[in-house]
């Protein structure tokens, strides 16, 4: 088993410098890729842990440009670690969709994950992803009908697909059911790399997922650990590196 983990962090949380330390820790602990969330004031798909982290980051004055600077530093630290940038439609639209995609390319972002810009209601995002060679990673959920899965994957040039393992919000624990695994296998049939997550917080869950995905996504769990380490004034990068190593072991 390869136990690849796409690890999620919130840019600017617990501080701007702290989020760079977290990124280092996730890379040192052998995270396969980083999903960096650009905070939005109203992250309606996120549960309390990530919601609070986003509003904390914004309260400290976080701006989108700081997110790109953070990505630049992370890329210098580890050029081979893929970076996926996650945010919401408002951020991408207000900054200009084309401008945003171009900038992502310039800063070495491998893919964009914007859950509320979907195929057919995407403000040109998917086409621009093709034009500038940036993966626009569709976010599916297991309740999406098969004909819609077809439609999305036909319109997507992305190597990767993100599958949320249930409806609702990030954070709370997810039971991985047979339906989940069947859906993962179905999507793998499209010759795509599959990352799956939502409520992943234990080795046991990752064990179950591992045969069906190319990577598991772990988000709120790391954000929660980040908060604990920060509150105890511990070394963020060492601490987080240990947390992810424990999960991958």
């Amino acid at each position: 088993m390869n136990r690849e983990i796409v690890s999620h962090l919130v840019a600017g949380y617990p501080t701007l410098e702290g989020s760079f330390e977290v990124a280092k820790g996730l890379i040192d602990g052998k995270g396969y890729a980083l999903e960096i969330q650009i905070p939005f004031s109203d992250p309606s798909a996120d549960g309390p842990t990530i919601e609070v982290a986003c509003s904390q980051s914004l309260k400290l004055g976080f701006k989108v440009d700081m997110g790109f600077e953070l990505i630049k530093r992370v890329k210098l630290y580890s050029p081979e670690t893929p970076i996926y940038l996650m945010s919401y439609a408002s951020i991408v639209f207000t900054n200009g969709v084309e401008n945003f995609v171009k900038k992502a390319k310039l800063y070495g972002v491998e893919g964009l994950i914007i859950p509320d810009l979907t195929v057919g209601a995407d403000e040109g995002l998917y086409e621009l992803g093709k034009k500038y060679d940036v993966n626009i990673i569709p976010v599916l959920v297991t309740s999406v009908p098969k004909n819609r899965v077809d439609e999305i994957l036909r319109n997507s040039s992305s190597d990767w697909v993100y599958i949320a393992l249930r409806g609702g919000i990030t954070g709370s624990y997810t039971e991985i059911t047979k339906d989940n695994l069947d859906f993962l296998d179905y999507v793998k049939g499209y010759n795509k790399h599959v990352m799956a997550g939502f409520g992943i917080q234990s080795k046991e869950q990752i064990d179950v997922l591992d045969k069906h995905v190319d990577a598991s996504v772990v988000g709120s769990y790391f954000v929660k650990k980040t908060k604990e380490l920060f509150d105890k004034k511990m070394d963020l990068s060492k601490g987080i590196s240990q947390v992810i190593s424990d999960l991958r072991e």
Binding site: D42, G47, F93, N95, V141
Partner: protein
């Protein structure tokens, strides 16, 4: 006007995560089917008459008119509808639809609390489980409404995230819905959100405008005025007049306490920018990165950073004019109509009342101006009494709390 539009110019649409696409498609199908179904419309009309108390009166504000000396002021008394505001028209419409769709649970968000109260009442009447999301700050400001919702059997959830106001309650309701849509319908309280909500809410609220058209058929209407939070009372009031060139239609936004970003909720004439937030494209108060700004208004119901997409479009093409009224002007209008006409406007509607006073002055005596009193002011007693009559009110509260 078409009953289903999806986009209004460049505004509107359905910008939601994949998980919400199916429930919205299911809702769109049901809405399109039932809004032209005579059985459904009959049931809705029966509810309107027996439960809501429609038609609501159109009152000639004779004393005010004489005092101001311009056009004739008429007031559409939506506040006389059951639960005290226009919100009940939409809540009943959507709750009936939810029942037809086989849903057993309803969720809603509320700012001023009027939409929450209306939804809770409709659910009580129809035997639906009901959960209302309300920002902690609004719970503080509108406590009487929380009490009524609970009396109707609804569960009121205090939302502690963000600015703890309406926009945060919307996020929380969306979070709930994306995990619960199998048995749950989400009743959005204004003419906004992802399609089909803006179309659906307008249709359920258009009863206001249809009644006005009938009641005012002998009047020479120059202007119609309504306050605009998300814009549901305004769009329902304006609907039958939208495709005509007259009368002038005026939307009134909350001028709050000043012109700086965060001090008001003026989206159409000031700092509003195109954005995509909470599932729809419209004008929003957002910063240069797309983060929603804080807003301020003395009225919880106007204190929202977005506006319904159809009104945003109507503002741009010039069919609806926008103006704003500040907190103090709204309070003055509240007093004015209470003393002259014996009606107490909701704080939201007082904004429309204040604008109507200004506009009436410039009209000839033979022409009419109709102001929509979208709700009555009972719920605002803790705000209005404190602002207008602080000392005796505080003494009363001290005494009561002993």
């Amino acid at each position: 006007m078409k009953k289903y539009n999806n986009f209004f110019g460049r505004f509107g649409g359905r910008y939601v995560a994949e998980v919400l696409r199916e429930p919205l498609r299911e809702l769109e199908d049901a809405y399109k089917k039932y809004i032209v179904d005579t059985d459904f419309i009959d049931e809705l009309n029966k509810f309107a008459k027996d439960f809501i108390g429609r038609p609501t009166p159109l009152l000639f504000a004779e004393n005010s008119t004489n005092q101001i000396g311009g056009g004739q002021i008429y007031i559409k008394l939506e506040g006389l509808a059951n639960t005290g505001a226009h919100k009940i028209n939409n809540a009943v419409g959507q709750a009936l639809l939810a029942k037809r769709m086989g849903k057993t649970r309803v969720i809603a968000e509320t700012g001023a609390g009027q939409h929450g109260v209306a939804t809770a009442a409709a659910c009580a009447r129809l035997g639906l489980e009901c959960v209302i999301y309300m920002g902690a700050e609004d719970i503080r400001r509108q406590h009487p409404n929380v009490y009524w919702m609970e009396l109707y059997g609804a569960k009121v959830v205090s939302v502690e995230s963000g600015s703890k106001t309406l926009k945060d309650a919307v996020n929380e309701a969306l979070r709930d819905w994306s995990g619960s849509f199998n048995n749950t319908h989400y009743i959005i309280g204004s003419a906004l959100g992802p399609s089909p909500y803006p179309d659906m809410v307008r249709e359920f609220q258009s009863v206001i405008g249809r009644e006005v058209k009938e009641q005012a058929k002998d009047l020479d209407i120059a202007v119609m005025v309504a306050c605009v939070g998300g814009g549901s009372n305004a769009i329902g009031f304006f609907e039958p007049f939208l495709e005509m060139n007259t009368p002038r239609l005026v939307g009134v936004e909350a001028g709050g306490k000043g012109s700086g970003l965060g001090e008001n909720a003026i989206r159409m004439t000031d700092s509003g920018k195109d954005g995509i937030v909470q599932g729809y494209k419209s004008k929003f108060l957002i910063d240069s990165d797309g983060q929603l700004s804080e807003t301020h208004s003395i009225s919880a119901g106007l204190d929202y950073p977005g506006i319904g997409p159809q009104l945003a479009n109507l503002g741009e093409i010039g069919r609806v004019e926008f103006t704003s009224i500040n907190d103090n002007e709204a309070l003055e209008a509240l007093k004015f109509f209470a003393r002259n006409e014996g009606v107490i406007f909701a704080m939201e509607s007082s904004h429309a009342g204040a604008a109507a006073i200004k506009i009436a002055k410039g009209l000839p005596k033979n022409r009419a101006i109709i102001v929509n009193m979208s709700g009555r002011g009972d719920k605002d007693i803790f705000i209005s009494a404190k602002a207008l009559d602080e000392k005796p009110w505080k003494e009363f509260l001290m005494e009561e709390s002993k």
